[in-house]
Assembly symmetry: C2
Homo-oligomer: 258 residues x 2
DNA sequence: AACGAAGTTTCACATATTAAAACCGATTGA
DNA sequence: TCAATCGGTTTTAATATGTGAAACTTCGTT
């Protein structure tokens, strides 16, 4: 009798993920080592993936990397994401007002995933966070989302994922965080002061859909000094208004709920 | 003896692609029908895909759709794409000057894939083409790319893909197109007047990398009347300049080649 | 309450996948 | 120039693994 999952498929996904993380083309043997698979198995999986366009063989003829088909799937999904379509213009406006970077994130498996980004004028976009994951306990968006969940669920996530310390400011105590979350639940504004990355302050607010469920969050972030200068309160208010606009456009009824 | 490719993986990719095309969540049986697979097989593949986050089961508990992990892979790749990073700011500038939509496309398997888009001010972005495929013979970007290939390869592509007619203006004769391509090769500007979609005019120009290979193309498009009004020549020149800037930033040496 | 439609689980069988080993081709160093 | 090394690719025999039929479960409908 068989396993619950399809082994071959899992292995193939391992190959894809290893390629995605690598940022540079990898060889068959290298991939095999990383996921502990025989090179000939890896080879056949790669052949299939290539054949279908999900992986490409660099012309230097020895290395494999993700192929264009991956974008097709991913971007199509991205484009169709309702919350993204609704949020994009609002974030764009928000950035015009504050001239700081704004992000849209979605929760997934107790973590957050950066989905979209609106940035000020010509700021060269560094390595964008879009597509990346981050923990909830040390990000403004994460805390905004946690603040909408029942305490029990919050505890579960924090216990399961741990509360890794990234800076001296990272909150590593569950109860301390729970207190803060209650505050956030009331104000709908979360603040993260260098808890994730030294020198960066980030504010977040949750996004609700028609059912009142928090399905994402937006944030504004920038260098600590500049953010302080512009005024945390003002930024918070502007951002909160943007969040409310997005939620409203998703059918959230403030009148009924507020 | 065994096939060249991994059957299970191919079937799994079929499942993913069917979900990607569907635009709406599908049930197990429905998917099975579309790709002619037994529903229990489909079910097990879906379980695995869900387990890994590439597919999600809607809470209405009966339908499956692409999951957030797909975005993670796709967007990461997207963000890392060198040509995209280089083209984005240039396209953004181009849009500011012309106030029409600009696209970046890559060639793949004799077709083009829309990769990125820069759009004028607040034009609500309709259903974006990003992530979609289109034929080469009836798009400005496609013709721009074809113009850089040897005639033999062009013939091969056109024969293999056919020259489907989308409007009365679509060029459906190989030789007619070949003549036009020679022209485009010289000017580096391709024009497509309602050959793909009635009412839309599109101009394109190829992008070259350090090796002199055309690796993509950019375009500007808009309603026929407005484009005419703004002047095809002017738009073409501006766009061509942008293309040259992108190519130069990718290391293409105009001095050596031009 | 019975029926039908769809999802899920079980299970015996045979096929498709695997890993070892052989093969090939390029690069390196003597 | 030749031998050695290191990948990538191909072959093959053994069997673990994925498959589809059928049974089972829900759920919604008549």
């Amino acid at each position: 009798m068989s396993e619950k999952y399809v082994q071959t498929l899992e292995r193939s996904l391992d190959v894809l993920e290893v390629l995605a993380q690598a940022e540079e083309p990898l060889g068959v043997t290298e991939i095999g080592n990383r996921i502990s698979l025989h090179k000939s198995t890896v080879h056949r999986i790669l052949q299939t993936l290539c054949h279908r366009g999900y992986v490409e063989k660099k012309k230097d003829h020895e290395r494999y990397q993700l192929g264009i088909k991956i974008i097709e799937l991913g971007i199509r999904f991205f484009n169709d994401l309702e919350i993204r379509k609704v949020a994009a213009p609002v974030l764009s406006d928000l950035v015009k007002v504050l001239d700081e970077v704004a992000h849209l994130v979605l929760p997934d498996e107790g973590e957050i995933v950066y989905i979209d980004r609106a940035e000020s004028s010509q700021v060269v976009s560094m390595h964008s966070k879009v597509g990346r994951r981050a923990p909830m306990h040390c990000t403004a968006v994460g805390k905004a989302l946690l603040s909408t969940m029942p305490e029990e669920e919050v505890r579960h996530i924090l216990e399961q994922k741990g509360m890794t310390s990234y800076t001296p400011n990272t909150i590593t105590d569950i109860d301390t965080l729970l207190v803060e979350l209650r505050q956030i639940k009331a104000t709908k504004i979360s603040i993260e002061k260098e808890e994730n990355e030294i020198g960066i302050i980030c504010l977040g607010t949750p996004i609700f859909d028609y059912s009142g469920q928090a399905i994402g969050a937006i944030s504004v972030s920038g260098p600590a000094s500049r953010i302080q200068e512009k005024g945390i309160t003002r930024i918070g208010e502007e951002m909160k208004k943007s969040g409310e606009r997005i939620s409203a456009n998703l059918g959230f009824d403030f009148y009924k709920r507020s």
